[in-house]
């Protein structure tokens, strides 16, 4: 059975406007009778909560951090795309749509992506009106730059803090509604269970992270905007609290998880320096505009990089990809870096790094010019890595950055559980098998400001206003018991390996075998290893303290337990997808140039998994949503 995406009929360019005309509305005086829960206060959740409240719904907002303003979106650096075409360089809604579909290697839904490109312009209007201080030209107009290999300049930015400024805009809009009483605000609350009554999402169970108390919340609809699951790798560029728990627990209650194997790795991160490493720091890929990537030609060459003459350096991207050189797309750059290191050419103490050298740029343009372009990045690098990139090459290595997979949603951003909506990085919707730079912020805000506020009304209009089951309903009791059971179980193991130790070991399996490049043999052994380690986790994990208190390690333990299950599904999904697509490279399927080779005949579908239980092994059933391409022609990428 193919899943129904509920994409409206009609020409691509008119689907959304027509849908807006057709969907049901909730009368203004009825809106007050509906309660909507929004879990997450990143760009997607913050924007959604503020917009719902402005429309008149009663909103409850939850997040893990002590303030909504600290959601992981705050860390996004580079910018946000929109099809404004201010620079008059030929951009258009169609071009932004086309680039996104192609960038996603034809594994996303045409209608969703087109809508994203359409509403992109309104996002910029909205942000500017909120006082987001975007970069400006001398004449006072908004400035744009080109980003992530796009041929047009469509990226809006606020220095290297675009995510921070956009998030503060959404946060402030939210706080205005908190003040008016339209949003009940619950920071330091973690959602642990979804409550489903008669097949519909009707509430959640949270843990108050200060008192440890479990609480039941009832609502007419639940929105998950809980971010991505990159931290399954232990080390990633995600914030430490980023996790899969809300999405995974909803999955266990019946929500399908789509394309979990699509994970994006970013090529220019500061490498791991030791076992104590707790996260990885991204550096803007703009560095590759002037930096040259190389490794020594001799394996294990321990000389100082400055002492290695040019003829003994292997500028592998320039040699392998003469026309794009150091500017090949993220996945190609990442894969090549990993390959040269796996072959023993890596540099630095760990051998897991390659050089990114600015020597020639400094010689050509002068130190001042390079400093003007990258000064703050160089400073950041020096602060973390401890050496000076003006004087010697940077060491860089790829790191997990973004997860395209997530809970399956239809055109209305509703999951297969009626009443459960999913927004932002937590859903699988718009990026296919690979996301373009500056498109995640666009998608999160599009979902939150301009899609959900309408589509949620379409659902609520069919719900009897003010109908309540009460939180004494059996489904609430049961869900709370499940959450409680998991916490008690974790605290009772009393083993002798720490949570971080387990998480690090899990991350290593996932990185080595479900990471940048995959193959059948590795994936099969990954599944075995994950199961064994998961078994050991439940026998031997050491969780300190008690449950009626602030206890960060207890929080982490619950999240790591969920990562252990997700990891197995990622391997299964990667194994099932016997083709390469975007970031999912199956070594069995590549072009002679090492490019991902798709199999459109057999794999032009979204893989949506239905949970069936964990009993030593994870049971999941595959459902497919076939992807039809009516408006674009499928092509093979080439960056030679």
């Amino acid at each position: 059975m193919s899943l129904d995406s509920k994409v409206p009929e009609g020409p691509l360019t008119e689907k959304w406007s027509k849908h807006l005309q057709d969907i049901k509305l909730v009368a203004p005086n009825n809106k007050r009778k509906y309660e909507v829960i929004v879990v997450g206060t990143g760009l997607a959740g913050g924007a959604a909560a503020a917009s719902f409240a402005e429309m008149g719904y009663n909103v409850r907002s939850f997040c893990i951090q002590d303030s909504a303003r600290r959601a992981h979106s705050i860390a996004a650096q580079g910018g946000i795309n929109a099809a404004k075409n201010y620079p008059n360089d030929g951009d258009s809604i169609w071009r932004l749509f086309y680039d996104t579909i192609k960038g996603g290697d034809y594994r996303s839904r045409e209608a969703n992506v087109y809508r994203l490109a359409q509403v992109s312009n309104e996002i910029i209007d909205q942000a500017v009106a909120q006082g987001v201080p975007f970069a400006r030209e001398y004449g006072g107009q908004l400035a744009n730059r080109s980003f992530g290999g796009a041929q047009v300049s469509r990226t809006f930015y606020a220095k290297g803090q675009t995510g921070q400024q956009l998030l503060l805009g959404a946060y402030q809009a939210m706080m205005r509604q908190v003040h008016k009483g339209n949003i009940k605000y619950h920071p330091r609350h973690e959602m642990l269970e979804l409550v489903v009554i008669d097949g519909q999402a009707k509430g959640i169970i949270t843990r108050d992270l200060v008192s440890g108390e479990l609480k039941r919340w009832e609502a007419d609809a639940v929105v998950l905007a809980t971010g991505g699951y990159g931290n399954v790798f232990y080390l990633s560029t995600n914030a430490k609290n980023s996790n899969v728990t809300a999405a995974w627990r909803a999955h266990k209650k019946g929500a399908y998880f789509a394309n979990p194997c699509y994970v994006q790795v970013h090529p220019t991160c500061i490498p791991v320096s030791g076992d104590y490493q707790s996260k990885l720091t991204l550096m803007s890929e703009s560095l590759r505009n002037d930096g040259r990537v190389w490794v020594p030609k001799k394996k294990g060459d321990k000389r100082h990089p400055n002492d290695i003459p040019d003829e003994e350096r292997y500028y592998y991207l320039e040699e392998r990809y003469p026309s794009f050189g150091n500017l090949v797309p993220r996945d190609v750059a990442s894969r090549n870096a990993k390959n040269v290191c796996d072959d023993g050419y890596g540099v630095g103490e760990t051998g897991l790094a390659v050089y990114l050298d600015f020597r020639d740029a400094i010689k050509r343009d002068g130190k001042e010019a390079v400093e003007a372009r990258y000064g703050n990045l160089f400073e950041m690098y020096e602060n973390i890595a401890g050496d000076n990139p003006y004087k010697q090459p940077m060491r860089i290595y790829p790191a997990v950055h973004y997860t395209m997979g997530g809970l399956w949603v239809d055109y209305n951003l509703m999951s297969n559980i009626p009443g459960l909506f999913v927004a932002g990085e937590a859903n699988f919707s718009d990026h296919g098998a690979n996301r373009l730079g500056a498109s995640a912020l666009m998608q999160g805000l599009s979902d939150g400001y301009f899609v959900l506020p309408y589509t949620i009304g379409n659902y609520l209009a069919d719900q009897a206003p003010g109908k309540r089951y009460g939180t004494d309903h059996g489904a609430f009791v049961e869900a709370e018991n499940e959450a409680q059971g998991q916490i008690d179980k974790l605290l009772n193991v009393n083993g002798d390996r720490t949570i971080i130790d387990f998480h690090r070991s899990l991350g290593k399996i996932v990185w080595d075998k479900i990471g940048i490049a995959r193959n059948e043999e590795d994936l099969k052994s990954a599944i075995e290893e994950i199961r064994e380690l998961r078994e050991e986790f439940w026998q031997n994990v050491k969780v300190p303290g008690d449950k009626n208190n602030y206890n960060k390690y207890l929080e982490f333990a619950g999240r790591v337990a969920d990562f252990f299950e997700l990891a197995e599904l990622m391997a299964e999904d990667a194994l099932n997808r016997d083709e390469s697509a975007g970031c999912h490279l199956r070594e069995e399927h590549q072009t002679e140039e090492g490019e991902a080779l798709r199999n459109d005949e057999d794999y032009s579908f979204v893989a949506a998994w239905e949970y069936g239980g964990v009993n030593g092994k994870l049971e999941e059933t595959l459902h497919k949503e076939n992807l039809e391409f009516e408006f674009v022609e499928l092509k093979q990428r080439s960056y030679k």
Binding site: A47, A50, E54, Q65, D66, S67, A68, R69, R70, A75, K84, Y86, E122, D125, Q126, V128, A129, Q130, G131, P133, A135, R136, E137, Y138, G140, Q141, L142, A158, Q164, Q165, Q172, A173, M175, V178, H179, Y185, P187, V210, A239, K240, N241, S273, G274, Y276, S278, K279, E349, N383, I384, A385, G386, Y449, P453, T498, I500, K542, P544, N549, Y550, Y553
Partner: protein, 252 residues
């Protein structure tokens, strides 16, 4: 090869807002110079847990100086000895073998301790709630380029808008004033035409809320500016006061 050191730690333990706090001491060997300060605390906690001792709780999320979660006072200095970085961006190479380090939470009546080094900063949320926004609804925005904004003004607004809400300014201030935090938001919004309209109400409401939360007055010590990890300028405070006085005397 990287350097390893021995560090003598003294850190604050407190079970809850009303419990009595105390210092605990621990000597950590094998501290690598490339560790971040928070990674050093992770390692401390791993050791403590393996010895069946309670780990020390501290707040963090991004670990790259942007979320504002971390807020440690290190040897008496908010965010530690290095200028213009948050505690999470401080690296152990700034210390030497045998150093003694004392770690405390920020101390302010408006920031009650939740546990150990974790405090409640919800007062900051309430200050923003009182007026730190532009009252515009989703969907009601005009075309973005319809109001040009001078580049210099936009850049100034941006500089104030980079406040990460960490609370170091409060921790460093002898009066535990939140003036730098509050002033930064007011200055950000007032510099832009979009925010200008609500200027009068904003300053009155936010400043009044700040007082209500129990933050002290500003006596121009400028300690806040010195510890601020993003370099918010105290001109924000002067502007806020000027605006406040003007607004109050207008009888607004």
């Amino acid at each position: 090869m990287s350097k390893e050191m021995t560090i003598h730690l003294k850190y604050w333990k407190q079970d809850g807002p009303d419990a009595r706090g105390y210092f605990e001491e621990y000597t950590l060997d094998n501290v690598n110079e490339h560790m971040s300060f928070l990674e050093m605390l992770d390692v401390l906690n791993e050791e403590l847990m393996l010895k069946d001792k309670a780990p020390v709780e501290f707040d963090y999320d991004c670990r790259e100086g942007i979320c504002g979660s971390c807020n440690l006072v290190i040897n008496g200095q908010a965010h530690g000895p290095k200028e213009r970085v948050a505690a999470c961006q401080l690296h152990m190479r700034n210390y030497s073998d045998g150093d003694h380090i004392t770690i405390e939470p920020p101390r302010a009546a408006a920031f009650p301790v939740i546990k150990d080094l974790v405090v409640d900063r919800s007062a900051f949320d309430r200050i923003i709630e009182a007026g730190g926004y532009v009252s515009v609804k989703t969907g009601a925005a005009p075309e973005a380029n319809s109001i040009p904004v001078e580049q210099e003004k936009a850049n100034k607004a941006f500089d104030y808008a980079t406040c990460i809400g960490c609370g170091a300014c409060v921790a460093a201030c002898p009066n535990a004033s939140a003036s730098l935090f509050t002033g930064a938001k007011i200055a950000h919004l007032n510099k832009l035409p979009q925010g200008e309209v609500e200027r009068t109400n904003r300053v009155v409401n936010m400043v009044d809320q700040m007082k209500e939360e129990g933050f002290g007055d500003c006596s121009n010590y400028a300690e806040c500016e010195a510890v601020c990890p993003v370099g918010i300028s105290i001109t924000a405070i002067a502007e806020m006061r000027k605006d406040y006085i003007k607004a109050v005397f207008k009888g607004d």
